[in-house]
């Protein structure tokens, strides 16, 4: 065990820090869509031009040929510098790396990484959330094409994306995960309709997407026919990993802000506030060490598997405790809507739902990690 950077990692970190000092946007991140979306895309483009995107991807596909540790250093340093997070949807690109044909990789990956083309993930449906394998959107073969009909929900960036990776049923209705195929669908294809979904905090992060005889060529299939479940599993495993997402640095900044506010208001000596801050800090330290352990496993070539469900539960608990503590410390002022703490708090309630609910994670832990039979 040695938790320090290697000399190479330290050099990488130093270069990154220097670049960030010159490039982090000075204007604050807009609070609402679509302004925030454009801000994040502009930042992604700048990161790409600086060579800081897809660090752990192979060079031949536009990556930097580095490892998961460098990805983690990037996320740490972005948080430290107060920069917007790197686009958290790079896990979708993993599906193309693993399952795409050479033609698909050449066509889609450059635009994906440079943020010239924005993607969304058409997985969840009104009747298929946690139980994704029950999805009802269909794709029916018609000559050289597939015709897609149905509805997607909770589609992040759905209103803004140029492409959607759609899971559709190509088998019988009873085929569940054995009869699902993944398709690349340009969002300007005739028959596709998108409506923003307003969240409890007023935000428009998600969309409802309707498919009415949407026709795509069979060559838009990602992976093989009826093998879409594999694509899904590979994507979700990355989505659940805390180390990939780099939330930790963001949480640390929020806690420091909170401590500053508590001091300004003269409530930082209150022993219950001190203890509450200590409790959040404890969660952050545990999450940091736990993520390092996972990252180290991954860097040593151990496969990403069901263990990420543990990480997801821990991350969820940390985020929700942090924002709940924020409201406790801010007191009655928080509910009067000044500042954006209440908004962040509302968003934190989604943490135990997106990427697989807290209950689904516990199903995975008890079934796949503990081996308990149902």
């Amino acid at each position: 065990m040695d938790l320090r950077d290697t000399p190479e990692q330290a050099e990488f970190r130093a270069q990154l820090r220097a670049w960030l000092a010159d490039n982090v946007p000075t204007e604050p991140e807009p609070q609402t869509m679509p302004a925030r979306f454009h801000y994040v895309v502009a930042w992604q483009k700048r990161l790409y031009s600086g060579g800081w995107v897809a660090l752990s991807w192979p060079k031949e596909y536009g990556g930097q040929g580095l490892g998961p540790v460098e990805e983690s250093i990037l996320n740490q340093e972005l948080g430290r510098a107060g920069a917007p997070a790197a686009a958290s949807f790079t896990f979708l690109g993993r599906a193309f790396l693993t399952f795409g044909t050479e033609e698909q990789k050449a066509r889609y990956l450059p635009g994906f990484l440079s943020a010239e083309e924005i993607w969304c993930q058409g997985f969840s449906e009104p009747e298929a959330g946690s139980d994704l394998a029950s999805l009802r959107t269909t794709a029916t073969r018609d000559g050289e094409d597939f015709v897609i009909n149905g509805q997607k929900l909770w589609t992040s960036r759905g209103s803004f994306a140029q492409f959607c990776l759609v899971l559709a049923r190509t088998g019988t209705r009873e085929s569940r995960h054995r009869g699902i195929t993944a398709f690349v669908v340009p969002t300007d294809t005739p028959g596709m309709t998108r409506k923003p979904l307003i969240m409890a905090n007023g935000d428009e992060e998600f969309a409802e997407v309707y498919f009415d005889d949407v026709r795509v060529p069979a060559s838009n299939m990602l992976g093989e026919l009826d093998q879409g479940w594999k694509v899904t599993q590979a994507t979700l495993a990355y989505e659940r990993g805390a180390a990939d997402l780099g939330y930790l640095a963001k949480y640390e900044r929020m806690l420091a802000q909170l401590a500053g506010i508590a001091q300004e208001r003269g409530v930082s000596d209150d022993v219950s506030n001190v203890e509450a801050v200590g409790r959040v800090l404890g969660h952050l330290e545990v999450l940091r060490l736990h993520s390092m352990r996972r990252l180290s496993d991954r860097a040593q070539g151990k496969a990403v598997g069901a263990e990420t469900s543990i990480d997801k539960v821990m991350m969820t608990q940390t985020e929700q405790l942090l924002l709940h503590t924020a409201l406790d410390i801010l007191g009655p002022e928080a509910v009067q809507g000044r500042g954006d703490w209440f908004k962040k708090y509302l968003y934190s309630r989604a943490a135990s739902i997106y990427g697989g609910t807290a209950q689904v994670q516990r199903n995975i832990i008890s079934g796949r990690l503990l081996g308990l039979k149902e």
Binding site: M254, A256, V286, I310, N363, S366
Partner: protein, 347 residues
């Protein structure tokens, strides 16, 4: 960045687990409950002969020259096996504190390498330092002296049986000795680092208690049948079982990572992460052992079940060397005074 245990450490964990299974386990714990310490003491002699009890003593004093991380790996395995031995005190806390107290500690280190066993005096609140006549001796046994260590004091003293909730790790009452002086502030770094090391080792012990109790519960729910099937088939039960693994894995992460940090990073970071590890593992172990008892059902609350032994040990550990809430307040206060002045969080 490398979080993994070395091959030697993996081997140390496996051999300790196997040794502890041979030497200890439920039947030895039961004998101790009935007042018969013969096999427990024999097991302790075996651990000494295997070199595990002097692992943390430097080679120049005749010990194994192991790291805190090595000792934590051993500690977790012994507490998971309900070993009624003074490992945390005599094999971890005493060598760390004696080495941290300078030359005066040398005779103690040499004696440890030659097979001596010590209890450890702490204050009446089970925290340290052990000042005053009401000091408590951790891992007391009849005829065993306790050690009181300060930055520039080190003395041995007798103790008599005292009240405690954990029969596997008895508490003694100081009888006059065990009073040392500690500065109110400005503790020497060597002492601070030793204290941090003890806290992390306690976190590793708590992780072991949690691991042992969780395994009892997981085994039980997979075989106990109600309504015609194992109760592990019920989702309400499965989710509690899953929570145990979340606690166990995070305890492992923080106790192992903190063990490395305490030996290798600046003292402020070492002190903070040690306090976090101790408070996290103290809270998680008690919570998860309580959950394990719930999963064990009626059996879990009987004297016959070993679950209460884990719970007793965990509570005593959680209360020792700084309890959860006092440690959280300490790290919270430090964070607020260091960071709170900069509400942009850039420091």
């Amino acid at each position: 960045m490398d979080f993994s245990l070395s091959e030697e450490q993996e081997l140390l964990a496996a051999s300790t687990r196997s040794l502890a299974a041979d030497l200890f386990g439920e039947s030895v714990a039961r004998q101790v409950l009935d007042g018969d310490r013969a096999r427990a003491d024999k097991g302790w002699s075996n651990l000494q002969e295997a070199g595990l009890a002097s692992l943390l003593v430097a080679e120049e004093h005749g010990g194994g020259g192991g790291s805190l991380l090595d000792a934590c790996v051993v500690t977790t395995e012994l507490y998971s096996a309900l070993a009624p031995v003074p490992y945390l005190t005599s094999a971890v806390a005493v060598p760390l504190l004696a080495a941290g107290s300078g030359e005066q500690g040398t005779p103690v280190l040499t004696a440890l390498a030659e097979g001596a066993t010590y209890g450890l005096f702490v204050g009446a609140d089970l925290s340290w330092p052990a000042t005053g006549p009401d000091a408590v001796c951790l891992d007391w046994a009849p005829g065993r002296d306790g050690l009181a260590v300060g930055p520039d004091t080190l003395e041995l003293g007798p103790a008599e049986a005292g009240p405690g909730v954990d029969p596997l790790h008895p508490l003694g009452r100081g009888t006059g000795a065990g009073s040392v002086s500690w500065p109110a502030a400005g503790l020497p770094e060597a002492s601070s680092r030793a204290l941090a090391g003890v806290r992390v080792a306690a976190a590793a012990a708590l992780t072991g208690c949690l691991a042992g109790a969780a395994q009892l519960a997981w085994d039980y729910i997979a075989t106990r049948e109600q309504y015609g099937k194992p109760i592990a088939a019920f989702q309400a039960v499965r989710h509690l079982a899953a929570d145990l693994l979340v606690d166990l894995e995070t305890c492992r992460s923080v106790s192992l990572g903190a063990a490395w940090q305490v030996e290798n990073e600046p003292i402020e970071d070492a002190a903070r992460v040690a306090a976090v590890a101790k408070s996290w593992c103290g809270e998680a172990a008690v919570r998860s052992i309580e959950t394990s008892i719930q999963l064990l059902g009626g059996i879990g609350v009987t004297w016959e079940s070993t679950a209460h032994l884990y719970l007793r040990t965990a509570h005593q550990l959680a209360a020792s060397f700084g309890d959860t809430r006092s440690l959280l307040r300490r790290v919270g206060a430090d964070f607020i005074s260091a960071r709170g002045g900069h509400s942009d969080g850039s420091s």
